[in-house]
Every structure is written in structure tokens, then in C-alpha cells.
Symmetry: C2
Subunit: 377 residues, 2 copies
Amino acid sequence: MEFIINHTDPKSNARAGLIKTDHGDIHTPIFMPVGTVGSVKAVHIKELREDIQAEIILGNTYHLYLRPGTDVLEEVGGLHKFNGWDRPILTDSGGYQVFSLSQRRKIKPEEGVWFQSHIDGSRHLFSPERVMDIERSIGADIVMALDECTPYPCDHEYAEQSMNITHTWLKRCCEHFDNTEPKYGYSQTLFPIVQGSTFRDLRVKSAEFVASMNREGNAIGGVSVGEPTELMYEMAEICCSILPKDKPRYLMGVGTPANILENIAMGVDMFDCVMPTRHARHGMIFTWDGIMNMRNEKWKRDFTPIDAHSDLFADREYSRAYLRHLYVADEMLGPMIGSIHNLHFYLDLVRTARQKIEEGVFAQWKNEIIPRISQRL
Amino acid sequence: MEFIINHTDPKSNARAGLIKTDHGDIHTPIFMPVGTVGSVKAVHIKELREDIQAEIILGNTYHLYLRPGTDVLEEVGGLHKFNGWDRPILTDSGGYQVFSLSQRRKIKPEEGVWFQSHIDGSRHLFSPERVMDIERSIGADIVMALDECTPYPCDHEYAEQSMNITHTWLKRCCEHFDNTEPKYGYSQTLFPIVQGSTFRDLRVKSAEFVASMNREGNAIGGVSVGEPTELMYEMAEICCSILPKDKPRYLMGVGTPANILENIAMGVDMFDCVMPTRHARHGMIFTWDGIMNMRNEKWKRDFTPIDAHSDLFADREYSRAYLRHLYVADEMLGPMIGSIHNLHFYLDLVRTARQKIEEGVFAQWKNEIIPRISQRL
């Protein structure tokens, strides 16, 4: 992996760059659509590539490990071959499931995390070494270290202990990763994750530790778990001030369009979030003019296109009234249109942010655009 | 509407022709994807047009009347404008819902059918005149007369009474249709429906009555409601022997790929069925080599394309193992791929049948291909 910064914003810490991987280039700042079990929900690979113009997608190690399983993935030659996505992929480590499936897991600091499968109840140990092996089998271009994503709120003592476990696991991840080879002939790189909950002292400590591991990119985890937005921004800012400037920074699980722009301003380069696809399934549509709840009666007779100025076929071909009808009638085409629309919007958002950074006007543009894109229509 | 027969098969009653409508030509024999509430489930309009190459789709009057409602449809200028499908549309009359929603309707021979909405319980009268008005508001190119689709089994007395009601309603439909104008500037045509359950004498009587109405095309209803396949073929054969040769014949709600080919051989020109999309949602995939249950373990490691010889992107890009994984993991992309695949297959099936008729080899080809496409893989 290689990271090149081409432009920096004069009035913020935003930067525009390029990550080079064996599966192609990623222009940063970038948003990565989430493909939990290898499929970005309700979206064809062809649409991701041609219509949404995604440059990298995310897969979830925990879910892919359970289904289709590493045996199937190894046999076909990795996730790229399995799902047909030939551009870069990033896999998380199961650390988020430590948070989201907290009733189904037990942390054993010396071992790792024991998960009880949400499918059949079977028990599985995710040790740092095992997670690296699984991520080698999945074959993502960027793999994440095993961590504990702490819940919010969480007391200082718990957060510190948890952070220390995450650091120990990180060392084991790095060692095991560096002692193993990629399985499919292209390079993989390992990103460590800063934890420390919402405590400034812990975030400083964790970011310094993570930076000292000297990997090719770094991530900030443990945010977007219910904390106030201001605290999220504060933690991201502290971490960005410590994590090396010349390496990509990935803020995990964030967020709303406004969250993304604010964090770009702090120097974050990579984002992922289920929000565009999950909200789409519930009829929430993000646009440059604000957020539309498509189930609302107000769209019933709005026969104008979803977005006449968009370059997405779905935005021009379908009207708001028709999209509302599809959601109200529970037609699968509603979430399909919503998902492709929202992902296209998120990619358009980061692409536009990139342009504004290149033009040196990002900070001003961000402050102007955030109230508009955040309002409810 | 105009109907031109270009070729007839020397060894069967199959024919290949062209239906001309104000929204474009329909090559017969044709399969019409079902878009119950205006959307063909899980398929984009763009995919219907470009990938599936559908030439006409179906809408359900009962469902469209309830949602989005005729007021919305009139305001936008009809269903074509509402859903963005600019090729021909056919609407049924609610007659099928007389069968499928039998717990929610009461037939009053003098009035029509009283339905109790499956959405909010409200009561609605579908009289022959009202149905014609609704179908004028929806604006389909081909509209169906109000009938009662009888259940199977059904005794002769009930079937005869029901048939007589259908005939009375048909006269009222024709009269009202002929006394009203299309609402959106293009022509609409009304097809009557033969009923008579599985009784030869009633089918003869009904087909003769329907033929005497002298409309531009004719339909055969009351099949595909649970009767043995042989009885369906027998009824279709009787009806086709009476319904005029020079007008298109539409067999409603049929069926499997084999059913379609057998009925083409009897002289049927038009088909519709929810089977390709409904089966797709349950993981059943139709191919030229037979039917695949994609949830089956046997596809788990079959990394070959769904169909390497197909011209459909989804058939070439996705493997059987990946499609199985999507169904097993309950990912929406599974039904999306299955639906576009099955509809593409059905359109490919009737297109190939057409070619074989043009080449004069349809009957032989049909007998060879039916065992292959009907087997379980």
C-alpha cells in the first residue's frame, strides 16, 4: 500500500490523497459502503462499480467467518473472487461485534473473544492470531486488528483496562500478521485501531501506542456507539493530532453526512457506515437539500424526479411520488432505489469534499453546506 | 391495436406475430412480467427494459386502485408516467382477486364485486362500469373485462352460473368501455375473458360468447387455480379452437416454462405469471438445463457462473455458490439476482419459441426441450 497526499486545505486539517493497493486506487477522503456478508445490501456489484462509483467496500470478518466460512472463501480464492468485486476491500476484525453482540460474547484477555454464533449458537474463539488468519483467508486489501469497541457510556477504569487489552492484542496481531503471507498473491496491510472511549487521556495514550506500531495506516474506533456528536468530534480531533500525518486515518462506523464532513476537516481520510443502506431500508433519503422521509404524505403527489440534477439513473427516472408509493406498499424496489441513491449520495459527498480540498475552499464550503444537508425536508 | 401473424408452425397451432400498440410493438408469443402495484418486484425499470428486454408488463387493477389510487394516477397522467415504464402495459380487472381474496369479497350479480380492502378493511364496489373507469384512469394499453375467476374444483352448476354472470358483466364492460374515451391521448383496447372452469361444454359456450363480442383480442381465464395440468391444456385447446385465429389469445396466470411452451403449441400468444418472480424470492431458479433450488447444499462450492452462456450480466458475474450464500444469509441481493434471472429466462424462452416458429421447427423443439427445462437439478 502507498499513500500520497496531493492537497491540503489551508483552513482545516482536511487533505485529499490517493491510496494505492493491488486492487486499484482509492481517492481520499473516501466513504466505504458496508457489505456485511460480502454483499452491499440491495445493490448489485455492477451498480456499486458503475452507478455509485464505489472505490472500496467493507466486509465483516465475524459474519464472513460464519457464512460462507473461510473454507469456501479459500477454495474460491478470497472474497473478491467470491462476490465479484475486483476493487479494494477492507475487513473489520470482529471488534465491533464485541460491542454489538455483547450478549453473545465473552472477553478473555489472554485468549481473545469467545463468540456464540447468532445463527446456530456454536462457540468460536476470535484470538488475535485467529483473526489475522481469518482475514488472510478472506483476503481483504486492508485488514483491521482485533480490538474491543467499548460501549458508551463506560467508566474510566473499564475503558483503560479494555484499551490495554486492545493494545496487547494489537501487538499479537502485528506479530502474527507479519509472520504470515497473503494467500492470493496480492498484498494486504494491517491497520491498528485507537480505543480509549471518550477519555482524552486514554485517547492520547492509545493514539501514541498505535502510532508507535508504525503500520501503513491507522484507525480510530470506539466512536459512533451512542456518544454525543461533540464528544465524537473531540476524540477524532485528539487522535488525528497524534496519528502520523503521512498515513491514512480511518474513522470507523461514522456517520451522518455532517459527521463525515466535520471529521474530514480534522484530517480523517476513510469512513464506513451502515447508515446510507440501513436508512434507505426505512425510507430515509439523503440529498444535497436535506433528508427526506419518503413515507411522508407530502411526497404523495410530488411527481418530480428524486433528484433531477443527479447523474444516477434512479434519481432521474423515478419520481418522489413513485418512490413513496413503493415504500408505503412495501415493495422491494423501494429499498433498492433508496440504497443505490443514498450510497451514490455518500460517494458524491466525499468526491465533492475532495474537489473542495483541491480548490482550497473546503472549510468554508463545509460550513455552508452542513446546515443544508442536515435539515429535514 | 393491430395484430399481424408472421409465421405459423407447420406441426402445431403455434404462431409468431406482432401486436402494435401506441406504446410500441409486442412480439408474440410473449411473456408479461407481473408488476402488481406498478413495480415488477425486485427489478428496476431499467433492468426490465435493457437486461430482461420485457415488451409489456402487467398491473393489477385492484391493487393500483387501492394504492396509489386513481386520483394520483390521473394527476400524473397514468401508470406509464407514474412508474416510468414507457412500453405497453396490460391491466387485469380484479377478477383474479375474486378468486385469491375470496374471504374478502361478495359477488352481487346485479352490481359487481364488493371487496373489503386487505389494507384497511374499507369496502369498495367493483362494478363492470367502475372497473372500466378505473382501467381508463390507470391507462393500460390493454385492459381486461371484469370476470369471476372460479376456483378449482367447482361444480358444474356453480361454474355455469358464474360464467353467465361473467358474460353479463362482459356486455356491460364493452358497452361502458365503448362509450368512454381514453384519458391520456393514446388508444386502449378491451379484452374479454373466457370462463367455464374445467367443463368442456361451458368452455365452448363461453368461448363462443366471447368471440361474438368481436374485440381486438381475447383471453382465457379461470386456469392455473390448482387444476391438473392436463385439464389446463384441454381447456386452453378448446378455447383456442373457437377463439378467432386472427386475434391475439392471452392465457391468464400461466405458468411453468413447460406450460408456456405447450400452450404456445395450442395457439396462445400471451402469458403472465408471478412464478418467475415469486419463485425467485424463494430461491428457485429456472434455466435451460432445469430448475435449481439455490438453497441446496450442492451449490455451496459451485463457483461457476449462474449461466456462463447467458447474455445477462447477473448470470455471468455471479457464481452459483455466491447466489446460494446470498439466499442462505437472507440478503436482499439474492431475490434481486433471482428475479432478474428468472424474468430474463422467461423472456428468452418465448423469444426462442418465436424463433423456432419462424424456422418451422417449433413442435419438435418443444418436445425435446420440455424434459430438460422441467427437471430438478
